[in-house]
Assembly symmetry: D3
Homo-oligomer: 146 residues x 6
């Protein structure tokens, strides 16, 4: 983890970075439930899940998002501010024992309201060990111009 | 926490529910950093934060989102599936000691691709103890028709 | 989680509510040991447990109690105060992977010392996925009269 | 933590042991809520607590019990089995920053159903830094005779 | 856990104590990564580990050290101060499910700079369930003389 | 976090890297106690600490070591193996609210037993917000030659 200044002009469309992977554990399920207060049986009750189409406990959507985004947090760009996310979609369930990683592609650059800033969109795909996309979203950054 | 079936027809536009509150603690900061691996100094280094405009550690955006959404998780609707979120925006920083709650308003109803389902949009506002909105997003639900 | 006023007169003998279930995980064992400081080998040392009649790590009694009671915490009655518990008994061991839920029955109503209050006893049974009772106790509530 | 065999005959009425102390932290509140799923505002919402007679977040009863009992877990007696607890009472609230310890007195000895066992009652008082009792209970042990 | 004064003269060379055991769980891996920020794939990515000689996730060295030393923390000697550690070596990997314990031998006694103190060296061996040493180190204590 | 091959020949004596900082919180104290089982009053009992020369709870040595080393874990060198640590010394206490960072200097290079490897020593200094060294140690790496 370190600081590196990247200005609006430096972001290149289609540039892509791929994070390391992380195995999602039962511990993560329990920690996320306790952290958020969401103890829905989908995530916490193996017996009930057996009666459902997905058969096993499935990860909280907010957890897959938080951990998948967390995996991208290695370089701190002091010129950029996170505005938020668009088009966040839960594409496939994540089960205990799955290993996820994130792939981030610069998908859009645009002018921002303030002329000294631009908007950069990072398209994020979180994938499992089978290469399947489990979650997608667009991360919106406000980035200083040089 | 309990099951209650609510069908597409039952959702009423403008209907609003307000959750209980929860004080965001230093513990939540540390747990979220450890849960996601995001140890950026914005969240973890009080000395560095003193040199920044915001002066104090600020909550991870993914944490405010996860806890704010977690606060809404009290009733399980077996007729609804979460598709994802749109227009998630970080509006104001959340500091250690702030108390947040969530306000959920049914903001849109539409037909879904499959005719036996409809799409319901819940507009979520997460607010602090001063009544200020700190995060907004639109939660998209796919809901069975009767 | 929400507030709902229930007065002494509103409690009905034999009324029963059943909570959702929760799978007890190895994580819960480790969290409870770390939370309480009780690292007895019965809960933490799988090798030693192999030499014992119960063969596998068994849950802390205080954990089964705390989680089982936690499962009942969905509705907040501002007219009631928890006085404590009677006849708490550890009936059967809980193992990693067991799924427990709680069944709460109003078993007794009585006058309290202060005439504007009554005492309500909730008999709590915590059961595993085989329907076996693993822990019982009587929860004593002091409840305002109308 | 170590094993030491103590038989029924060895327990002496009125014998007392006093544990070390432990400061109850905001972290413990957050961990216990996440561990049990009990996010009642009494424990988690400092703003709401300001409007209540107790003014500040108060510890979960199950947490004071679990930690207070955990403090007594230093010596493992392989001749004793915990049957449960009687007369558990929440006497005074515990606040963030309070320091508690436990005092255990052998208060009763009796025959058990099986003639090769006896029942020993440990009266447990959990006290705060002012010497005030915050929780009491009677721990029931089934102990082998020599 | 209790206080017991042991002076420099009381330490006997070759005296040995053996702690209870503790099974190292996946939870411990996740907790340690979150506690330290070390999310290296050796500890967190089961898929990547399959491609490595050790085949499975291996425990953080700092965790085996911290837990192994923690196991020795039962008796508090108010006459002794921990100066640090020498010759800490990671001898064998620890995997999820291994059970470790610690063996502490008084291996050296020497004069300290201040004449009223002596230096005591505890040689610590942390072993797994097969009796194999996984970590060794020498703990240096500064101990008051009588 | 990413992989970068650095061979024995590439390590330069006196080369130094400085990590970001991290504020040590009460949460870290509670997590470390729960993770290791070390609930000594030096770390956990604020009231007892008031009677001691250091006046406030002080961090576990193993925690300062684990977090300080964790701060250095950003780049994964697949050519290097950690052998262990020498001369680990606890120089000054760390209190709740202190902010630490680590400074790593290549202090020694030597031949290893196997001719295709060399030994690299990283001298690690963990410092607080006042620039004071709180812990030092020498990290021993076995590194492949080109």
């Amino acid at each position: 983890m370190y600081f590196r200044s990247i200005f609006f002009e430096d972001y290149l469309l289609e540039e892509k970075r791929i994070t390391l992977g992380r195995t999602i554990t039962e511990t993560d399920f329990v920690v996320h439930a306790g952290h958020t207060g969401d103890f829905f049986p989908h995530h916490m009750d193996e017996e009930w899940c057996k009666t459902q189409p997905f058969k096993h406990r499935i990860a909280h959507g907010t957890m897959v998002f938080s951990i998948g985004i967390g995996l991208t947090a290695s370089e701190i760009n002091p010129e950029a501010f996170s505005k938020g996310y668009d088009r966040l979609r839960f594409v496939k369930p994540v089960f205990i024992g799955d290993t996820i990683h994130s792939e981030v592609t610069i998908s859009e650059k645009a002018e921002a309201k303030k002329p000294e800033y631009g908007t950069v969109t990072e398209h994020v795909e979180i994938k499992n060990q089978h290469g399947e996309v489990v979650l997608v979203c667009d991360h919106l950054l406000l980035v200083k111009k040089k």
